[in-house]
């Protein structure tokens, strides 16, 4: 089992460009979570899917950010018109559910730098 796979590991974009980040969850896991990590804000929840359905996007910036999970094997996070403040490590986690609890396993992250 390769764990959660995130691609690319590093991405540099110019201000105003689009960035698409990919996540492949652990096979058999039912949920995918996206988080953002910065020095200033720490680890912040963005959004998550369960059985491919969007469940909670309360952490997503209302503009420019969107996430999808078109099939059980991958999820994408898209940032339109990137801004320097979007620079962060974007972490994807997948989980299996035990009762009412999710045990989340994180990928290595995608380090996004917006110049």
């Amino acid at each position: 089992n390769a764990g959660v796979i995130q691609t690319p590991r590093h991405k540099v974009t110019g201000k105003g460009q689009e960035a698409t980040l990919w996540c492949e969850p652990i096979s058999g896991h039912s949920a995918v979570f996206w988080y953002r990590q910065t020095i200033v804000q720490g680890l912040e929840f963005l959004t998550y899917f369960r059985n491919q359905a969007p469940i909670d996007d309360s952490g997503m910036p209302k503009e420019r950010f969107s996430a999808q999970m078109p099939n059980q094997s991958h999820s994408t996070l898209k940032i339109q018109s990137t801004q320097p403040q979007d620079s962060a490590v974007y972490l994807c986690a997948s989980s299996f559910r035990t009762g009412s609890r999710d045990t989340q396993y994180f990928g290595p992250g995608t380090r996004l730098l917006v110049l």
Binding site: V4, Q6, A31, F33, Y35, G42, L43, E44, F45, Y48, R50, I55, D56, S58, G59, L91, A93, S95, S100, R101, D102, T103, Q104, Y105, F106, G107, P108, G109
Partner: protein, 112 residues
């Protein structure tokens, strides 16, 4: 208001000593508390977790002590090793919400 707080921000111990990392929370609906270990350039790795129905969880050198009344918990790392040097995050979630709320982390350095 920060929902999950960790202290200290950084901690240095000698090899073989016990490191104690503290965490407190505000939301009384939180009932699941995982601790994650993160090395530079890597994603957080699940280390150990506890549910609020328990007051202690042990896994090898790692032990969580939980005080529901005071909304506090701590991670004890006994016989600390230089390889334990990392950032440790306390997180919390409530039933059926899925998402984790993280503290700001404690940077642990273990000197040989």
């Amino acid at each position: 208001q920060q929902q999950v707080r960790q202290s200290p921000q950084s901690l240095t111990v000698w090899e073989g000593e016990t490191a104690i990392l503290n965490c407190s929370y505000e939301d009384s609906t939180f009932n699941y508390f995982p601790w994650y270990q993160q090395f530079p350039g890597e994603g957080p790795a699940l280390l150990i977790s506890i549910r609020s129905v328990s007051d202690k969880k042990e896994d090898g050198r790692f032990t969580i002590f939980f005080n529901k009344r005071e909304k506090k918990l701590s991670l004890h790392i006994t016989d600390s090793q230089p390889g334990d040097s990392a950032t440790y995050f306390c997180a919390a979630s409530a039933d059926n919400t899925g998402k984790l709320t993280f503290g700001d982390g404690t940077v642990l350095t273990v000197k040989p």
